[in-house]
């Protein structure tokens, strides 16, 4: 073979919307995957230089170190309010929040509910891994009944701790919500579907259609106390039955903008 005739073609690279740095995420964590999907979509939309992200408090608190775009770091749970303030004065920017389950569904429940209710024209990426990761594995508002965490050492007893919140189901009831979908990151087929949903959610904003949120079922090998592969199986076997995948709200006009899986 004549080496001089070989042509090198790049088939896979880091999106421009991600910085070329190492992350602090644990091995096997799906945060990196979710970051990449968001970055790929923003690249594809050509919106990196128009994007303003809002990071939460939780494991992804340092998201601004990994995304290669303007970023703010919110107080715990307040990212939708902060994003609202940004979007209202800068309607031409692509404004999104990236929030975990404690941030979005517990301490920030009021802010996400009202951002959705207002039809705030922002995109929300919601990482649900059924546990508080950063503080070391306490009960989340999405922790499953019976699930052991460091603050439910005998398992979540619904008589004491109540039931998990299903945020897609809740927010989809609001007229202001244009697009609300739940996807999972536990295997390749679902990861591809997750990316399509994210693209849809950002296009909803670009078309001024209102509030869009994609919930991504995610893992936490470290605090679940299992290997990365087992954790992906656990998503499929335990989380999906509690948090069924699908489109919960596809508002008027949403189906006609690209990205949604058929």
């Amino acid at each position: 073979m004549d080496l001089s005739e070989m042509v090198e073609s790049l088939v896979y690279r880091k999106p421009d919307s991600l910085r070329d740095v190492e992350t602090h995420y644990c091995p096997g964590c799906t945060h990196g995957l979710a970051h990449r999907l968001v970055a790929e979509v923003i690249d594809e939309l050509g919106m990196r230089e128009k994007a303003i992200g809002v990071a939460p408090v939780g494991c992804s608190v340092f998201a601004y170190n990994y995304f290669n775009m303007d970023f703010a770091e919110a107080a715990h749970g307040r990212a939708p309010a902060m994003a609202t303030g940004i979007k209202r004065v800068n309607p031409d920017n692509l404004v999104f929040t990236y929030q975990g389950d404690g941030d979005l569904a517990s301490i920030g429940a009021a802010e996400i509910l009202h951002a959705a209710g207002r039809g705030e024209n922002i995109t929300v990426v919601f990482i649900n891994n059924a546990i508080y990761g950063m503080t070391g594995g306490q009960m989340a508002p999405t922790t499953l009944p019976g699930q052991r965490t460091s603050s439910t050492p005998l398992g979540r007893d619904v008589e004491v701790h109540g039931f998990p919140l299903r945020m897609c189901e809740v927010l989809s009831q609001l007229d202001g919500a244009a697009y609300v979908a739940r996807r999972s990151l536990h295997d390749v087929a679902n990861i591809r579907k997750a990316k399509k949903a994210l693209r849809q959610a950002f296009e909803v904003q670009l078309n001024g259609l209102g509030f869009a949120m994609v919930e991504l079922l995610s893992n936490c090998p470290t605090n679940w106390g299992m290997g990365a592969t087992d954790s992906l199986v656990w998503i499929e076997e335990h989380m999906i039955p509690m948090f069924p995948l699908g489109d919960y709200k596809v508002g008027p006009g949403v189906a006609s903008v690209g990205g949604r899986e058929s």
Binding site: F71, A81, M82, G85, I86, A110, H114
Partner: protein, 355 residues
């Protein structure tokens, strides 16, 4: 511009608009709601952002977000609502973005009542939220001053990249008196927003606005920067009014509404031949420590008058450094003192046995 009969709440809202306020986020609370209502009507007709938030917690975080873009932004509230804003205030201070807040104080603690009070002095002047920071705090005593200081608040917030609180009370918010509004300033074009702001990283490296300094030494460095800023503010932004202090032996000290009531009392006391003057701090941070300290060298005694249980009096004592006795007269619970109550205190202070 001509003088008009203006209600305090409407006056500061309109003054903010004329100072170039691009966005207002708030939540209804008596006795400042007229400001929110004025913004609700005026901001949209000028093509600017107005939003009634779901809570004061959300309102201040919307302010925080908008402030990160470099836009001129404000909120207003009253004591219980301001308590809810303390988290956001701390983050704004920790991120060094400019923002303006007007606190129309009411009686407390708790739900308290809707009558005028100065009970938020400690909370606002000393920081309020967690961590080591202080906002600039300006205390008007008239509707005209409320207007002027609101305009100035936006300029100071941008100059020092900090929070500026205009600290007034329900009396000033609800009162109507003649005042003159400033001319309308042009809104700054978004292309002229500050270089640190978040407006999309077009043709530049990304900007990040965060209040995190995970390394203690870096956090300390940041704290030192805030302290240096505070020192600069202390050197340049002290504001106060003095009345009849040239030949005075006694000084009354009061801010805002209580300072204004004390002014009447001082005039009556002068008619009785009592050599008393008034010192009215306008900037509560930076506090006029030096000016009060100089007065302490020649005053027989001080009387501090507040609409609270004694808060600013602690700063007056720090300034006076024990060189003269510092007495306190306060009304609480939303009660505004009458001039003759203060006059009676001045007479007591003037009595030889008391001095």
């Amino acid at each position: 511009m001509a003088r008009e009969l203006l209600e305090g709440n409407v006056a500061f809202a309109e003054a903010a608009i004329r100072a170039g306020c691009e966005a207002y986020f708030g939540y209804p609370i008596t006795p400042q709601t007229e400001a929110l209502e004025h913004m609700a009507r005026r901001m949209p007709e000028l093509g600017r952002a107005f939003l009634q938030a779901e809570s004061e917690v959300a309102a201040i975080n919307m302010v925080y977000g908008a402030a990160c873009t470099g836009a001129r932004v404000m909120s207003s509230s009253s004591s219980p609502g301001v308590s809810l804003m303390m988290e956001g205030m701390s983050y704004i201070a920790g991120s060094e973005v400019p923002a303006v807040l007007v606190d129309i104080m009411r009686g407390g603690p708790g739900l308290g009542n809707i009558a005028p009070s100065q009970g938020d002095y400690f909370q606002i002047v000393k920081g309020g939220g967690h961590g080591d920071y202080r906002p600039i705090v300006l205390a008007p005593a008239t509707v005209q001053e409320l207007i002027n200081l609101t305009v100035e608040a936006f300029d100071l917030a941008e100059r020092y990249r900090c929070i500026v609180v205009v600290l007034a009370d329900g009396c000033l918010g609800q009162m109507m008196e003649p005042a003159e509004l400033p001319p309308m300033r042009a809104i700054r074009p978004s292309a002229e927003r500050p270089e640190w702001a978040l407006n999309g990283a077009e043709g530049r490296s990304p900007n990040v606005i965060s209040s995190i300094y995970l390394e203690p030494l870096e956090e300390e460095e940041f704290n030192r920067r805030l302290l240096a800023k505070q020192a600069e503010i202390e050197a340049h932004e002290v504001r106060f009014r003095e009345l009849a202090l040239d030949d005075a032996e006694l000084a009354v000290v009061g801010f805002g509404t209580s300072g204004r009531v004390a002014q009447s009392a001082v005039k009556f006391a002068r008619q009785e031949g009592i050599k008393v003057g008034l010192m009215r701090p306008i900037s509560l941070n930076p506090f006029p420590y030096d000016a009060l300290g100089r007065l302490a060298d020649r005053m027989r005694a001080f009387l501090v008058v507040e609409m609270n249980g004694g808060q600013m009096v602690e700063d007056v004592r720090l300034a006076v450094e024990g060189k003269a006795p510092v007495r306190f007269y306060g009304r609480m619970g939303g009660v505004v003192p009458f001039p003759d109550e203060i006059l009676a205190e001045i007479r007591k202070l003037n009595a030889p046995t008391e001095a």
